[in-house]
């Protein structure tokens, strides 16, 4: 795994558990550079001061907070360093709450996820806390400072470790009040609702993330690779020659008819006494043994109550 991006400790009452944080996700999005259209060289963005009409360096800038229109107060590094924070090197647990928000509670909007790894001296306490939260179905709501910013976070048991999810602060979450949403009691015909419910029921299953992939990114990469190799992109080409479904159905019918005829012929040729003997044997041998395919002893599992 990549190197840790934060070291500190989980603070829980008088307990301190030294831990490291690792980014739990990575973006695979394709990024582009801005080029000058005529020469295809990368463009540069320079810092320009319209007041003095000159290009300046980043070192000539200071941090300003706009407290009124065009009125700024300068905030220095020393000002930032003087802000009192208890959570500079700690994941300070505030309280424990149910893992799933209760009915009516606002959802937890996640900013970023981190895997948590205990330092050697904290492994036992780490496992104990994880085990207790998992058994009780709880997560820890905490505060943590990451990259000079204090964040609200949820510390959630996940497998053999914790997942630390930094959350948006409540005042960062936009209200739905301005959205044009349908009324609760929108007029829906019973048949429409039943159809929607049925579609949902038929598509209900388990979520397996491995089944999903970013098809847009793959297609875009295909276009880019084609350009690198000098190929021109174009609309999808005609299909390779492929057979028709109707031919497959015809082949299926013919094959089944042949199998029936073959089976019937075999039955006709079978001596009467042998057939009768085999029928008696079948009757005595149900249920089937593995690999046999005769009618009476090839029962599906339902008949053995194993299905």
């Amino acid at each position: 795994m990549a190197r840790s991006m934060w070291r500190g400790a989980i603070q829980f009452g008088l307990v301190t558990i030294p831990v490291r944080l690792y980014l739990a996700t990575e973006s695979k999005s394709l990024s582009f550079n801005m080029l000058h259209e005529t020469c295809l060289n990368r463009i540069q963005q320079r810092i320009y001061c319209p007041h003095d009409d000159e290009i300046i360096s980043r070192g000539d800038t200071v941090r300003g907070f706009e407290y009124a229109k065009d009125q700024y107060v300068v905030v220095t590094d020393e000002d930032l360093a003087s802000v009192p924070l208890n959570t500079v090197r700690a994941i300070e647990i505030e309280r424990f709450v149910p893992a799933r928000p209760a009915e009516g509670e606002p959802p937890r909007f996640v900013k970023q996820e981190y895997w948590v790894e205990p330092e050697a001296v904290g492994r036992k306490a780490f496992s104990l806390l994880r085990s207790v939260l998992e058994d009780k179905g709880l997560v820890a709501i905490c505060k943590v400072v990451i990259k000079d910013r204090e964040a609200l976070a949820a510390l959630e048991p996940n497998g053999r470790t914790f997942l630390l999810e930094t959350l948006f602060w409540p005042d960062e979450i936009r209200s739905t009040a301005e959205l044009d949403l349908p009324e609760d009691e929108v007029a829906v015909k019973p048949a429409e609702r039943a159809m929607a419910e049925q579609l949902v029921a038929t598509m209900t299953g388990e979520f397996d993330p491995a089944q999903y992939r970013d098809e847009y990114r793959e297609a875009l990469l295909g276009v880019i690779e084609g350009k690198i190799e000098g190929r021109e992109t174009a609309a999808p080409a005609e299909a390779e020659p492929g057979g028709e479904l109707i031919d497959l159905m015809a082949a299926l019918e013919a094959s089944v008819a042949a199998a029936r005829a073959s089976r019937q012929a075999a039955a006709d040729e079978e001596p009467e006494e042998e057939a009768a003997s085999r029928a008696r044997t079948r009757a005595r041998r149900a249920p089937a043994t593995e690999g046999e395919t005769e009618v009476a002893h090839a029962s599906p599992r339902r008949r053995r109550k194993t299905a």
Partner: protein, 208 residues
């Protein structure tokens, strides 16, 4: 509905036997102007299977929900896992290669008709409605099933390269979740070589 794994092919007049189609499980919902094609694990199946956009034109009724399987056929009109994989990889979409194989849609069940659920009706009736619902086409058909003779169907499918046979109980309603005895997925195996009893083998050698 999730099928139950069966042990071996069997004959039973209460069941309809057909291929276990090796493709992508899908639903087609047609409701007024809305046509939704929902395929397992594909957010949008249309880029991989552009031919399927015409499916609504093949359905004679409105308010229908069809269960189906998307296949990609090779030149011999056989379902091809390799062509299906190439379709999903999408490298052909940059225009440098032919679209792999030919897309086909096999409809296997009908859950709504005329805006009403028919899921409680027996499977045999639903299949009958399904067969009448689809206009004839070369690429979208109701599945062809055979009642009763599962062993003969399994042998025929084995010769065509299929690995599984599907057995639907004809009188069973559709039920979400595990199918129980309403639906089996049965592996196609070569029948075991029958060894005649020793006395019969000796008698045959003697020409008796």
């Amino acid at each position: 509905m999730r099928p139950t794994d069966g042990a071996a092919p069997f004959d039973d007049p209460a069941y309809l036997f057909e291929p276990w189609w090796p493709g992508i499980h899908a639903f087609v919902l047609i409701d007024g102007e809305a046509v939704v094609l929902q395929a397992d694990a594909l957010a949008d199946p249309n880029p991989a299977f552009p031919e399927l956009t015409d499916v609504a034109g093949l359905v004679r009724s409105d308010g229908v929900l069809i269960e189906a399987t998307i296949l990609v056929l090779d030149a011999r009109a056989r379902p091809s896992a390799d062509l299906l994989r190439r379709r999903l990889e999408g490298q052909w979409r940059d225009g440098t290669a032919l679209r792999p194989g030919r897309t086909a849609l096999v409809a296997t069940d009908l859950l709504r008709l005329g805006g009403r659920s028919i899921a409680r009706r027996p499977f045999g009736e639903r299949r009958g409605e399904l067969a009448a619902l689809l206009r004839p086409s070369s690429w979208c058909l109701a599945g062809r099933g055979f009642s009763g003779e599962g062993i003969a169907v399994a042998r025929a499918l084995g010769e065509l390269g299929f690995h599984w046979v599907s057995a639907h109980r004809l009188d069973a309603p559709y039920r979400p979740g595990p199918a129980g005895d309403a639906w089996f997925r049965v592996p196609i195996r070569e029948p075991a070589e029958r060894t005649p009893p020793p006395f019969l083998a000796v008698a045959r050698r003697l020409g008796l």
